[in-house]
Amino acid sequence: MNAVTNLARLRGPGIFAVVAALALVVAPLALEPFRLGLLAKYLCFAIVALGIGLAWGQGGMLTLGQGVFFGLGGYAMGMHLKLVEASSLPSSGSSSGGGPALPDFMVWSGVEELPALWAPFADPVFALAMVVAGPVLIATVLGLLVFRQRVRGAYFAILTQALAAAFVILLVGQQGLTGGTNGLTNFFELFGRDLADDSTQRGLYIVVALVLGVLYLGARQLVNSRFGRLLVAVRDGEDRVRFLGYDPAVVKTIVFAISAGMAGLAGALFVPVVGIISPALLGVVPSLELVVAVAVGGRFALAGAVLGAVVMGYAKTSFSEQFADGWLYLQGALFILVMTLAPKGLVGLAASAREALAARRRPAVPASRTVKEIA
């Protein structure tokens, strides 16, 4: 028995290694650059989904505002790329006189001097630090504010949703600073490499896949740690945890901040991969869509969150290529079905199917209890 479980324990990492090999070696070779770019985009979303899986699946915090953190990361990266571009193109900078060169959208927005908020982002180290620090900081402040007051469940969900709505309005309203609805686009190079080049895109894909893999392992480690158990305990009985002498607000804030940092990192990777960051990517609907993806994949397993983001991203692309109008129906219907019939998502379905199979093979073991739990 012991040997069997040991073997089984080995199998998990084994399959992880296979998937990693597939993603890192086979995909870049087999896929044409356009499709590889799409996969890189899905993997960016998968990083956000991983964070949602942590906060929602493990911590019970349904955050409908991850777009905000994704956006903070994305804009930090976008601002840096814009500044690099502006300083490398003599034509756009010449008319503004002596000061540092302005990004293109500021010129047509009537901004004449580089805003103080932008200046430090010319430094790549600062920009990269802000990618994670910005979201983490905001999530920490927000988390401490709301969790300390025991705002939770539906309240928290609605609050984060309103945050996403307000954030988008704010971004759009500050056109001179943020590019308004257009967002930031037209990037040429990333750390000296031409972004239009296929090899750059392939390299970016590998970076995204590596980041996702590392974060996934880290998140798993976290979930399996003492802290992870505490997190699940907070999810399932916050008051009881409080009676035991822990502060649930701190636990929740830490995890919320981690998920925000992941979203920020994903946003920063998304920008060079897709070539644009705009408020349309951060609002209520895109934030919800990611939560949907996590639910479809299976929110209680981190692998489910990742899987859901990739599957839903792929489904969206392929269905909208085939029949655009049907996509909303399909997305809606898929969602209703998953929520009513398989609340544990694809991963849960697969697990219950296998257990049912195992139960049939070995009728001695009563599997009915777990099956019912899943259904």
Partner: protein, 288 residues
């Protein structure tokens, strides 16, 4: 000073709109803990009901449609409750995602049935014009909101059905062992809550666009009213709607529409710091 006076009726009328769209939610969200993201699409259904009735009733459609839209949206809610939501009680976050799926389907359905462009609902001629800065149609919405609130209050406090509804909300288990058929009460609650969305939809045809995306414009605001007012509190919803309406109108008057929205959000977050459960809290000994 003149500006202050002029903005007052506008703020109150914004509050009346907020109250109308949020009133149904105090039932479904407040009393049953169901986060119904399809609430916006029930509002849309009400608006389209008025549009369809135009062919029969001409310019009186807005009046005739009020009860019809209540029934139509109420039935849609009932169907939703029977087929899906009843499996989800006690899992509010799951209902949020489920009903979001429903809302997507309903939006696309409206697009297929009525076309993507906005449609026109003609207001009755006697609603044209107004007193000072207060147009008659705003006044109409204000009166409608008052009547609706009064009706809801009377129903909850003066009828047996209403009292049973409150009993179920306050303590489901105790209500059930006292012989109340909680399933029936749930159905009724959902019917009324959704029906009220339909009524709001008819009213909105007077001031806003009627199209497949109508619901998405109002849903977030509606939830904010309920959250600020306190779950399941009728009085809370009224006060919160009026407060947010006034805040919105003055903030917009002295800044601009974009900033006003951000200010409203900031105020709500700050307010929840002081009163995390909203304005009026239902007293309960239960912890969570």
């Amino acid at each position: 000073m003149e500006a202050f006076v002029n903005q007052l009726p506008i703020g109150i009328s914004i509050g009346a709109v907020l109250l109308l769209i949020a009133l149904g939610l105090t039932f479904t969200f407040g009393q049953m803990g169901v986060i119904n993201m399809a609430h916006g699409e029930f509002i849309m259904a009400g608006a389209y009901t008025a549009y369809l009735l135009q062919d029969l009733t001409g310019r009186m459609a807005v009046i005739v449609a009020l009860p019809v839209a209540f029934a139509v949206a109420g039935l849609m809610g009932l169907i939703l409750e029977r087929t899906a939501i009843r499996h989800f009680y006690g899992r509010p976050l799951d209902t949020l995602l489920l009903t979001w799926g429903v809302s997507l389907v309903l939006q696309q359905l409206a697009r297929d049935l009525f076309g993507a462009p906005n449609v026109q609902v003609q207001a009755p001629a006697w609603l044209q014009g107004g007193i000072g800065t207060l147009p008659y149609n705003r006044l109409f919405i204000f009166v409608l909101a008052l009547l609706t609130v009064a009706g809801v209050w009377a129903y909850l406090n003066r009828t047996g059905q209403g009292r049973r509804m409150q009993a179920v909300m306050q303590n489901r288990g105790l209500a059930a062992v006292s012989g109340i058929d909680t399933g029936r009460v749930d159905q009724r609650t959902f019917f009324i809550g959704s029906g009220l969305a339909g009524v709001a939809g008819v009213a909105l045809t007077l001031i806003g666009p009627v199209g497949p995306t109508l619901g998405t414009y109002y849903i977030v605001d509606a939830f904010l009213v309920v959250v600020a007012g306190g779950l399941g509190s009728l009085l809370g919803a009224v006060v919160a709607a009026a407060g947010l309406g006034l805040l919105n109108s003055y903030a917009e008057f002295w800044s601009d529409a974009s900033l006003a929205k951000v200010i409203v959000f900031a105020v709500i977050v700050a307010f929840l710091q002081v009163r995390p459960q909203g304005l009026f809290v239902l007293r309960s000994r239960a912890l969570s």
